[in-house]
Amino acid sequence: MNQTDKSLPLVEFRRTSYSIAEKSAPIISDLSFTVERGERLVLLGESGCGKTTTLKLINRLLLPTAGEVLVEGKATTHWDAIRLRRMTGYVIQEGGLFPHFTVERNVSLVPSLEGWPEERTRSRAHELLEMVGLPPATFASRFPRELSGGQRQRVGVARALASDPQLLLMDEPFGALDPLTRESIQREFKELSTTLKKTVILVTHDVREALRLGTRIALMKAGQIVLLRAPQDFLQAEDAYARRYIETMTINAEGRVQNDE
C-alpha cells in the first residue's frame, strides 16, 4: 500500500449494491461513503442491516452486484483477492483462531504465508503478543482452547496486525466478551490503533462500543447508511430511527455498564 497515492481515500463505496440472488431483496442498496486514512469508522446497526456484508465487500469475500468498492482507488474486482486480503487485517467474533495451531503459529499465519524468514516471523509474533498483553513466554506455545475468551480475542487482533496492514476490518470483535473484559480490551485497542495509526472499520450493534471506539459512526438500516456522524454529534441526531435505536440500545445496556469515560 505504501507506493500508492496517499491523497486517495483508503476505501470508497460508489453506489454499491449487493444481493444474494438476482431476484432477492438487496442486502446492500446503493451505498456510497468513503473512509479516510487513520480514521476508525464504526458500522452500527441491528442484525441483518447489512453491516457485515459491507465489511466483506471490502476484502473481496463478496463482490458487489452493482456499483463498485474501491480500495486505494482500485476496484476490488480488479484486485487479486489473495493480495488484497493479506494486506488487510481481519478480525471476527471469537477470533476464528485455528484450533490446531499454537498461539504463536496463529499469529504468524500471514507472515509465514508471505514467506518471511523464520526468525523474523518469530520475533514479529512475540512482539505482537507483547503488544496485546499476552507475554509470549507464557502464551506462545498454548493452544486456543487453553485461553479465555478475552485472551483469544487478543490473539485474533495480534494475528490481524501481523503483516502490519494499514487497514483493519473487525466484525463484532468484542461481542462475545463479558462487560468488564470488553471494556478494558476496547480501551487497550483504542490506544493501540491510535499509536499504530491504523485505519479501522469496525462492525458492532453496541452503541457504547461505537461511541467509545469510533472517530465516525455510520448507523445502518436495511442496507443503507441513515446517519454518518462524529461520536460527539451522534447522540444529538434528530433522525427518528437513530433516536429509537440509540434509546433502546442505551436502556438495554444501562443495567450492565454505568460509567462511561
Binding site: 493480495r83 477470533g95 476464528g96 490446531h100 495451531f101 493452544f143 482452547r145
Partner: protein, 527 residues
Amino acid sequence: MDFLQRNWPDILSHTAEHLWLVFISTGLAVLIGIPLGVLLTRYKPLRAPVLGFASVMQTVPSLALFGFLIPLPFIGGIGARTAIIALVLYALLPIIRNTVTGILGIDPPVREAAVGMGMTDWQILRQVELPLAAGVILTGVRVAVVITIGVAVIAAAVGAGGLGEYIFRGLRQNNNQLLWTGAGISAVMALAADFLLGLPERYFDTRAGRVKEQRGRAVFQRIALGVIAALLVIGLGAFVFNKFSAWRAARTSAGQSEQSSRVRVGSKDFTESVLLAEMLAQMLEARGVQVERQFELAGNLTHTSLVAGSIDCYPEYTGTAYTAILQHAPITDPRAVYEQVRREYEEKFKVSVSEPLGFSNDFAILVRGAEARRLGLKTISDAVPHARNWRAGFGQDFMSRADGYSGFVRAYGFRFTQQPREMDLSLTYRALAAAQVDIIAGNSTDGLISALDLFQLEDDRRYFPPYEAVFLSRMDAVSRTPALADALKRLGHAITTEEMRRLNYQIDGEKRDRRQVISDWLKSKGL
C-alpha cells in the same frame, strides 16, 4: 492347536495374502476416496450422485459383484485383480463420506478467518481443512479397513486366496478347525486394525486436550507417519511373503514339468469338484504340463470364467449344463441329455465335453438314518405321508432351479406345513444330522452321507434328471495341449459312484490332504 502347528506355513501365507489384499485395496480406496471427498466439498452438485453411487455399491452383495466383474474386459477375470476392484468399491463409501463430513463440519468462523487472512484454496485445504478433519477422515479409513478385512473373505470365491479359503473349505468339508482358523485370524486381524488405527485418531481430536506441552503439528505428523510406516511395513511384508511363496511353489512344480504349455484348471466350490480338478491337474503335471489351479470358484463363476477364457477346463455335470446353463426343461434320459449338451456346447461356446467320468452326482433326498430305520423308509414315496410335519431344509440351488423344489413337490405330492428353510448347501447336512431339519436334498456322492449316518431315499418316480460328471474344456486348449486330450480320454468311465463317495469321505470325513488322496488314488488305478 495341533492343526495350527502342522499347517503354520500354509496359514501364514494365507494370512499374508489376506493382509496384502486388504492393504492394497484400502490403499487404493484412500488414494481415490480422499481426493474425491475433497472434490465433493468444492462442487456441491456432485455430492449427492457420488455418495449415492458409493452407498449403492455397498449394498450390492459381494458374490453378485464378483459375478458381474468377471466377464468384463481388462478389470475382470478371476484372481486378485477382480477381488481388489470389488474391495475398493466397498471401501470407498466410508472414506468419501467421512472426508466430506470432516471438512464440512469445521467451525464456519475458522474457515471464514482462513479465507479472510488471504489463504489460497490449496493452503486452506492443506493447513486447515485436512488437519482439522483428519480425525474424522481417519475414522472413515478405520471403518473401511475393518469392512475390507471382513469382505476380503469372499475374495476366495474368485480365486484371490486369503483366509476365506479356510472358511469356504471348512464349511464345505464340515471341518471346524478350518472354519475357526479362517474366522479366528480374520477376526483378530480386524480387532488389531481397529485398535492400531484408533491410536492416532485420539491425537487428532483437537478438543481432547491431549497435545499440551508439545507443538501440535509435530505430534500429528509423527503419529501419522508412524502409522503410515507401520502399515507400509505390514503391507510390504505381506507382499514379499506372497511373492516368496509363489516363487517357492513355482520352483517345486518346475522340477516336474517340461513346460510344453500351461493349462488353467478350474473347479467349483465343493469337495467333489475340487477333487476331480485336482485329479486332472496331477495327471497333466505327470505328463509334463504346467498347471495353474483356479479352484473353488463360487456359483456360476466356473462357466463364466471358462467362456471368458480365464480357465481352460473344469468338471461339470450334464444335468447342470442342460438345465441351468442351456436352460432346457429337465428330462430323465442320460444319453439324450449328454448328446444335447455336447452338441450345444461345441456350437455355442466352442467348448468340448469329455466322455462321462463314470459316476453321476444326482440330487439325493436324505433323511436321518435312525429315522429311516424307525419308520422303515426306502423310497421318496414312503416318506410323503410322514412329511407333513417335517421341516425341510434346501440349498439355494435346489430351491431355484427348474429340476428342483417346485417340480419335486409336485411330482411326489409333498405337502410341507412349514415353508422349507433355504440355506447354504453345505450347512443342510449338519442341520439334518442335528435334527434342526428332517429332510434335505444333498448330492448322492457326498462323503458326509455315510459320515453323518444319513439315508438316501430312492427316487422311485424317476423325477431327477441325470447328473453325469464330465470335464468341459475350451477347444483351443485341447488342440494346443495333446496331453490334455489324452488325460481326459483316460478319465472316461474311470470312476464309479461308490469310489467317488469314498474319495469325498476321505476329505470331508477323515480330513485327509486332498493332493495326497488324489495321488494315492491315481497310483492305485494306474493312471
